[in-house]
Subunit: 205 residues, 2 copies
DNA sequence: GTCTATAGCTGGATAGAC
DNA sequence: GTCTATCCAGCTATAGAC
């Protein structure tokens, strides 16, 4: 990892740049995140990106890290709630949170710095998930030979992400049935979802 | 859909351009697929991209369609083989085939023409899968309330793609257990995989 | 910290000769 | 069909004034 300036600078401007980059990435894709467009949206001079982040890569990495830290907090909350499995499922199946993630995955295809960052955080997340949910599933008396916790985590994550990706293409054959299967599974081992679970945001068409 | 020239031209040159674009996309990501680099690799003049495909979008769409048609042939083969479920799983879990697909999905984030093309083909594929595998599962006596064919298809597809994406980031926690679960499932309803199934290409590290 | 100005590059696309 | 030559836009990044 090369030395990075990590300039303190004015946190207001720095955050404005990150916010602008995030909005652009979310609504127009990472390709829209250019020096000029980010700074225009943030209302500051275009040279400031390089003052705060050294390079565009630096901006992307900082943005990813900021999001990852926030997500990690939410993960810990979900995993220590009354219904950790339901909490986990709702967290990963949240549209607004995963759209950015998917954009970063696409970006990682041709940005090595991003790739390394995502890999590192993915392992950290998976470790936390595995640790917490293994204990939970043991407590529920789930047979670990039939349902290895790591597989449960992988399969839930896989289903969630796949459905969200397909939705983005307006493909939804089999989605309702699959979500129903997942929810049946969760109900069977963790009971009915109690109130207080975050409501899913309905899809706008 | 705007009128496209769809020029006949010299199929040799046309194919050389598509081959060059595919190689670049696979090995360096779609961002490497530029007029100049494609034509340099194909060994032809840079203006020829526009003669054959009108725009870069046209080149991408043509490349996607060529691949989709080939994939569709392989899908039909798999679905009409002795072990359609095993065939289906091995087809979607094939590394070489899915790498390009994932690159196209990333590309679709900011190329509308590609997005439309992928959506159309996805539905066509899903329809064919659903039709063939519904019949197969009914023949196997699988309870459609417990295992809706559309869900089985979605879940297998989801797992496959998720594992391949994570592998690209060198994350593989829980992968072996999950693949084992899938294969157990396939064995239970379709029996041991018979010889003649295409061998998985081992991963190079 | 924030600005102006600009260097240096790479890309998509076209006109027109052969 | 294939080429040369070229236009123009947009990008990253830097130097240096304020």
């Amino acid at each position: 990892m090369a030395a990075r300036r990590a300039r303190a600078g004015d946190p207001t401007t720095r955050n404005a740049l990150l916010d602008a980059a995030q909005e652009l990435m979310l609504h127009e894709g990472y390709a829209a995140v250019t020096t000029r467009r980010v700074t225009a949206r943030a209302g500051v001079n275009s040279a400031l990106v390089y003052y705060y982040f050294d390079t565009m890569d630096g901006l992307f990495v900082a943005l990813f890290q900021r999001g990852a830290e926030r997500s990690f907090e939410r993960l810990k909350e979900a995993l220590t709630s009354d219904q950790p499995l339901w909490g986990f499922w709702e967290l990963i199946h949240d549209r607004s949170g995963s759209a950015l993630t998917m954009e970063f995955i696409a970006l990682a295809n041709h940005r090595k710095a991003i790739r390394a960052e995502i890999a590192e955080y993915s392992r950290k997340f998976r470790r936390a998930q595995l640790e917490a949910l293994s204990a939970v599933m043991e407590r529920y008396g789930l047979d670990p030979d039939r349902w290895p916790p790591s597989s449960v985590i992988v399969i839930l994550s896989a289903i969630s992400r796949f459905l969200l990706i397909e939705e983005a293409f307006d493909v939804d054959v089999g989605h309702a049935e699959t979500e129903a299967m997942v929810e049946d599974f969760l109900r069977t081992i963790e009971g009915e979802r109690s109130r207080g679970g975050r409501a899913r945001v309905p899809r706008s068409h």
